[in-house]
Symmetry: D2
Subunit: 281 residues, 4 copies
């Protein structure tokens, strides 16, 4: 008895749930959990089904083929195993998000294997080394953005990973760089409640505006800076006593919690990308 | 094209979702939203399906019969129309929860008709009258608890209602009184984060204990005081500056919001009672 | 024994707290509560002191004069009585914020007297009339913005008020209109978490962007639309199931709670305007 | 120019703020931040004053003496330097709270030096060793509670510490053990929203009761299990989908955040113990 995730996405039609759950039943899979959603605006159907049963001898693949032949054109269906995901982390100088991921991987709280950490400074090498994880420094100093991104791509290519996490990687990425990766592979944590305070120094912007709440946003990285599909957001209250610096300090816990929640959902195959939005089951 | 809620509950078995959604499909109902849950501890299956289609000529009833004949013994299935629910409200002296319900009913924010308000004081008669809703005072003064509950039951029996809401009705109800009503009919808002601070004066108890958070709990009323199935809870932060009185003041907004959320779920048929707990879709 | 609020604001200097609390002590006032704040950026000092004692025979005024003569140039000091504030409300069609204020004024939960309600539609006249409060309709239809604002100013001038609350008044105000009122007199509730989604249809904007949290912002009205000093903000979580419409529905409770909190602080003289920010004690 | 915290606590009296801030002024200390509170129930005055100035040549001590001679009998006053605090941590098997403290100490996010970790299992030795901090295993197996506590006291006595943090130390402490330490020295994180679910297995209790919110409580340890003064609490929402185990998993983030917040306040000398409560500035 094994457990897998069945992910279906297609134009909406009558009877889709009956058809898919019927296929699961005929192939002797038990449904542990099922979530579905239809986007009204564009009539798109999304369904995530946790199933349990015997996937030997192509039983699962045949079911997927059956479903694929029944859903409307333009649909997708696949089975994902429940395995530990491989994560590559990009950092700059701040240790809190990296530290959190290292700890959660080490303790088993999150089913991830951190395959490597790449930083544009070497500051976080010592912390990474404590957990016996390779660290590569790719300095941006004295070279052009193009050259730096080229070296980053080289360093990244040395690691096999399911997801690349920007754990407070403080460099702006060019569209060319982003386009090297499939959509949905790269996740960023932005230290503001997007779309408020896009771009640089969001805590300073928040301080200048005098907001009473600050937040963090985890999103998939796309060509447009800070405009990719949002996966998770959260906030904390601040007040006039906070400086830009103490906002930044207070914001660290939200940043890591939001990234944590987003990554947890992504690696559990609970997140569909839907245009510039997400469906998060 | 009409919309109804299909509610199914039974011992768990393989293929239930496929069977029920298949029945919907065969009877030409479109599924708008579907939620299901299996309680692991006792293998009980719960499913709520919003469907749209033609319920004329017994089409819906036939589908329910079909489902009933297919689910395991000990199951239930029924169709609920999406109608405004009739609410009877019991109060004592505090106006905030009553006021909120009156306003939400008046503005259409909540699809309820308040059929009447019964209080053991007449304080809230003036407020109720503004909204042209009958108010009955059943004073408890000078009579025994038994006699008061008898008179309350008489007053209640004059109104036809789907649900009875205890909107800060501050009298303890005897098991005899509670047993006059079907399980799930009566909803109470308790002004603490149950099971902390059961019984009388929860804000005073919270003050005495020095807690840093206070809350409110909406639950179905059962024979055991403050121990019925919890529907919704929420909290707010307090600190050493709060007296028992200012906690009570601050708690009012949570009380009405929690009741609001609970009642909203109940009248949308999103709440299953499951032993001493609830499944809230 | 009477209670008043002593409000002091001036350039920072050594010994200000000692000087002001010393003045209170010499004039035999007991300090019930004291809050102060120094803005580092511009070295400005703010202090709010709740005092109790004998204000007869100019005792309070003499203390204020003493303080004024001791604080640095460019400072202010005044005593505010703890009285019910007079509120004028501007509305359009949505009843939830108005309803909340009417109820809180009626029940005494908020120490305000609502002197009148002015709407650009007559929809909310019936609700207002239930509480015996005058309602004036100033329709904007068929006339220019200038003419409408002229008529609004006329209508407003008929009421004596401490504060004007825009309780979902959905018209953009011209700088000319805003400048008729002293800074800090007019409070608006904006249905987004500013500065995200300024301007029109914030819930539609939030839906389009796919955010996971929506919010509301209460702020003082200034010439620049949605850019005045923020008094209070709060948020609620949403997800892919929400349409723009259901976000708007869900947002109503946050809107009224945020306005409630903001107005509660303002009428208790807990809010200082500090440039384009607020200090909220 | 040095910064220290002036902590005063005494029976309430008129003019205390003026007297204390006057003393600061006369001794040429600048007040950076000041908080005070009077408990109405027992008329007790608490004040925390962050001051900056010259503490050389006994200037600070003389001021404290002056204040002590002016406050009512039964009062206390002292100056605390802003130094890194020494923390000794007690653990059992769960790594998340320990990991968080190790990381925050390592990164400088919290000004603490972890002097050692003592566990009744050796599970967390590897994690502790990564940060070059001594770990002592004091197994409870095969010995009486008395004997185990004796050995724990011995192990504890080998470390010099300002505070002892029970970071998910899952053994019940006898009053004899607790009484070896001054009040306020030992801080515990309890994995429930106290006073709900005191004692063992709070997540199982929460699951059995069907609550919709779970929480965590950081408190000073006293003789009575889970009844010491509460320093911080927080909660997260759960629903019917949660098992006792997944509640426990979800609760971990709240546990470490609450302990973090509590410890942060304690080491900044922001927490006064007041009977069985706390005043947290």
């Amino acid at each position: 008895m094994e457990r897998r995730i069945l992910l279906t996405e297609c134009p909406d039609a009558k009877g889709l749930i009956a058809m898919i759950t019927g296929a699961c039943f005929r192939h002797q899979f038990n449904i542990i959990k099922n979530d579905q959603f239809v986007s009204e605006a564009d009539s798109r159907f999304f369904m995530r089904t946790e199933i349990e049963g015997d996937f030997e001898n192509g039983n699962g693949d045949r079911m997927v083929d059956e479903i694929l032949s029944s859903i409307p054109a333009g649909g997708r269906c696949r089975l994902e195993p429940e395995t530990r995901k491989k994560i590559l982390i990009l950092v700059t100088k701040e240790p809190h998000v990296l530290g959190d991921l290292l700890m959660k991987s080490y303790s088993g709280a999150m089913p991830i294997d951190i395959v490597g950490v790449i930083g544009n400074y070497s500051v976080l090498e010592d912390l990474t080394a404590k957990f016996n994880i390779p660290y590569v420094t790719v300095s941006h100093e004295g070279i052009s953005r193009e050259e730096h991104e080229k070296r980053m791509l080289e360093a990244i290519s040395k690691f096999e990973s399911d997801y690349i996490v920007l754990a407070k990687y403080m460099r702006i990425l060019s569209p060319e760089f982003v386009n090297h990766f499939p959509k949905g592979k790269m996740i960023n944590i932005h230290h503001s409640f997007l779309p408020a305070f896009m771009g640089a120094k969001p805590y300073q912007q928040a301080f200048d505006r005098g907001v009473k709440i600050i937040g963090a946003t985890a999103h998939f990285v796309t060509e447009s800076l800070d405009e990719g599909p949002i996966i998770a957001q959260d906030v904390i209250k601040v007040n006039h006593n906070y400086s830009a610096e103490s906002m930044a300090r207070a914001g660290r816990d939200v940043e890591r919690m939001v990234l944590d929640r987003a990554l947890g959902r992504v690696i559990a195959d609970k997140v569909f990308i839907h245009g510039n939005k997400t469906v998060v089951f």
